[in-house]
Symmetry: C2
Subunit: 249 residues, 2 copies
Amino acid sequence: MEKFSVNRLAKLAGVSVRTLHHYDEIGLLKPAIRAESKYRYYGKEELLRLQQILLYKEMDFTLAQIAEILDDPDFDLLKALGEHRKQLQRKKQRMAALLQTVDKTIVQLKTKKMNYEEMYKGFGKEKFEAYTKEAKERWGEETINQSHKKILAMDKKDWEALKQRGEDINKALTAAMDLKPEDAGVQELIRQHYEMMGCHFDVTKEIYRGLGSMYVEDERFTAYYEKYRPGLAAFLRDAIHLFCANKPA
Amino acid sequence: MEKFSVNRLAKLAGVSVRTLHHYDEIGLLKPAIRAESKYRYYGKEELLRLQQILLYKEMDFTLAQIAEILDDPDFDLLKALGEHRKQLQRKKQRMAALLQTVDKTIVQLKTKKMNYEEMYKGFGKEKFEAYTKEAKERWGEETINQSHKKILAMDKKDWEALKQRGEDINKALTAAMDLKPEDAGVQELIRQHYEMMGCHFDVTKEIYRGLGSMYVEDERFTAYYEKYRPGLAAFLRDAIHLFCANKPA
DNA sequence: ACTAAGCTATGACCTTAGGTAAGAGTCAAG
DNA sequence: CTTGACTCTTACCTAAGGTCATAGCTTAGT
């Protein structure tokens, strides 16, 4: 019968020696024999048990749960798996919800950036102050200031170039409004717009899609683009959504 | 200016007093004033800051990260949000992967149950032993025994009834093979089959779908059903997949 | 002013699944 | 027999608080 030292077993199973010590401590996996020297030696059976442990650990069971699964003969594994599945699903959904929250926050920050840009372009003092006030209410004094600082810290030339390019793309899109959103040329313009947005941080498909929705859901966006040309906001949203739907992950 | 005691602030923000103590300890949220009695008193500003903290906590930022976000003027919030988003997405994908693992495990357990049932129905000794050996290799001595114990512990009458019903449904499905998988009658039989499967633990759509795939991917399944009537395995799989696709979550 | 009830402070220990380190003992090869 | 690699135990550390215990504080009612 083969015997494995801690090191050997650890390497065989891909865990650390400390982990084996820990499992011994909590009684989850005890060595087959303990030499007089106090060295731990494991046999084939223990290797098997360790593999079982790792299987369940992979599924995110806690060590206590695993101990129960392996040692309690009255344990209903199917029921446990079913419940565990529910847990995992809840967690996954929670992640999805968090993602949405983060996305919304990112979009809102982007919006603020744009508000700021508009302000820069000289939209009149009242508008500027209304924006600032709203933003402060939504974000708190400190945050908004920090964010503004960031934007102000942006390199002037980069900023101007970015702005110019955005305007070019917008003009082209306005002209292309008579085509359908799925038109290849329109989609190419949208692609350029998307890449521009991604210039300073990653815009994922989902974030970009959220931004697209804002074109019709946020009145400031809508007002801005509708004045440009009526129907433009909805057109942009549709084109962006289409773009996102067709874009590979 | 209003002052809030720990209790008041905690209730206002929906956190525990201990949490406020903790935030004070780590310097994340310090009270506006400390009375000589050492009592903590918070002002409006602190309430605002606490709300900010909770906003980021909701997004699963750690307290250390939140401190950085709120206190470091050089902090790039957009970049942090972008990175955080990636993290969340990874976690979500991990959850999805875990779900699949759990589903597969559940389906395998179910399969074993069926093997056991076949064995019971008298499929010959060699087959039984081949199954048992394979299952032991895959699952380890202990697990398989426990699982068998569970099945044996099942109420005899329930089991017989379940088996009988399963056979009835199978016979009906065999007869219905000349129809299309999307036929309403076929889908109704599949629905009954699905409900039967869910008799002893929740079978979700996804798990059921996985089971459907096993009809053609697992040779034991395939052999069993093909012997019944050629083409039955694929037919069942298609019908099950269709059922799952149309079933509301 | 006094007292009881309720609020608060500090300190300490607990939780997961090990990581990391110190100091001492042990094994195997040369 | 030495040296280097291995192993032992002990103990402290992580995140975000939960849950006591003990002692001091505040406030409402009398």
